[in-house]
């Protein structure tokens, strides 16, 4: 039962990512670095911080929300491809800023989420 809920939550998370990414991409077309995945991953890490701090780790609810929904919502592969395409376009500094900025902002967001709930 948990496995089924987790799959559904992962699917819903992916749909949420698709919608948020499209929404942000439409509104940030003039920026030269993609913003959609950055917004998705930073918010996912903040929410996972909240879930991890607020719900007993390893519980079914925590697993469905954390591993399922937020795992499906956040993505590593798209972030890698975005930086890879910046690199291949000869924009090494933008690629570095994109990858490092996402990592630092996501870590800070996760810590904030954890601090707020513990």
């Amino acid at each position: 039962m948990t496995a089924l809920l987790l799959a559904l939550a992962g699917g819903l998370g992916a749909v949420a990512r698709f919608e948020v990414d499209s929404f942000v991409a439409r509104r940030s077309r003039r920026l030269s670095v993609p913003m959609g995945t950055l917004v998705v991953n930073v918010t996912a890490c903040f929410l996972l911080g909240l879930v991890t701090g607020g719900i007993a780790a390893g519980s079914d609810v925590g697993e469905v929300l954390g591993v399922g929904f937020l795992g499906g919502y956040s993505t590593f592969s798209t972030a890698s491809v975005e930086a890879a395409r910046l690199l291949r376009a000869g924009r090494a500094r933008a690629a570095l800023l994109h990858a490092a900025g996402m990592l630092v902002a996501s870590l800070a967001a996760a810590l904030l989420g954890l601090t707020l709930t513990t």
Binding site: A3, G11, Y73, T78, E82
Partner: protein, 163 residues
């Protein structure tokens, strides 16, 4: 801006037909099913293989393999033409859905935080750096491989028409 490879928006191509309401709903269904499959695969792997301490190898491998696969997929699709019809369905179902759901940034970041909490300072610095650097290189590899396969197929087709 109508260039299909504009680096600013690699996952939201600016070419292709605008999306109708029905197509949008169908594509959302594909993202849902793909995301459910990808997330379940990650959950099963983490459940079967993950160890509670040390370098998070399972997430590391999932994220690197997923990055390479997505580079290969998106590079291959971009080489075949505009983002519409079956190509868009494959991009969203397999790319945004399966590979997006399979790889994870939130679990990865929480693992970094946990390593720091456990006093594993070296791992807490090395793990995120290695993940991001190897992930981006894997994506470059996927994109380069896709380009090469595409060029070879085109050359073969051109030879076919000459002969």
């Amino acid at each position: 801006m109508t260039h299909p490879h504009h680096p600013a928006h690699p996952t939201v191509p600016t070419t292709g037909a605008p999306m109708g309401r029905r197509e949008h709903l169908m594509l959302i269904g594909l993202v849902l099913v793909g995301g459910a499959l990808g997330t379940s695969a990650r959950f099963a792997l983490e459940h079967a293989l993950a160890r509670p301490a040390g370098w998070p190898w399972v997430t590391f491998a999932i994220n690197v393999v997923g990055s390479c696969a997505l580079g290969l997929l998106l590079g291959g699709l971009a080489g075949r033409g505009a983002d519409e019809g079956p190509r868009r369905a494959v991009r969203l179902g397999c790319g945004t859905g399966v590979l997006g759901g399979f790889t994870t940034y939130s679990t990865f970041v929480l693992e970094v935080q946990r390593l720091g909490d456990d006093g594993e300072r070296l791992l807490a610095v090395a793990y995120p750096l290695a993940s991001v650097v190897v992930g981006v290189l894997a994506a470059v590899l996927g994109l380069v491989l896709a380009d090469r396969l595409h060029r070879r197929a085109r050359a073969r087709r051109a030879q076919g028409t000459v002969a």
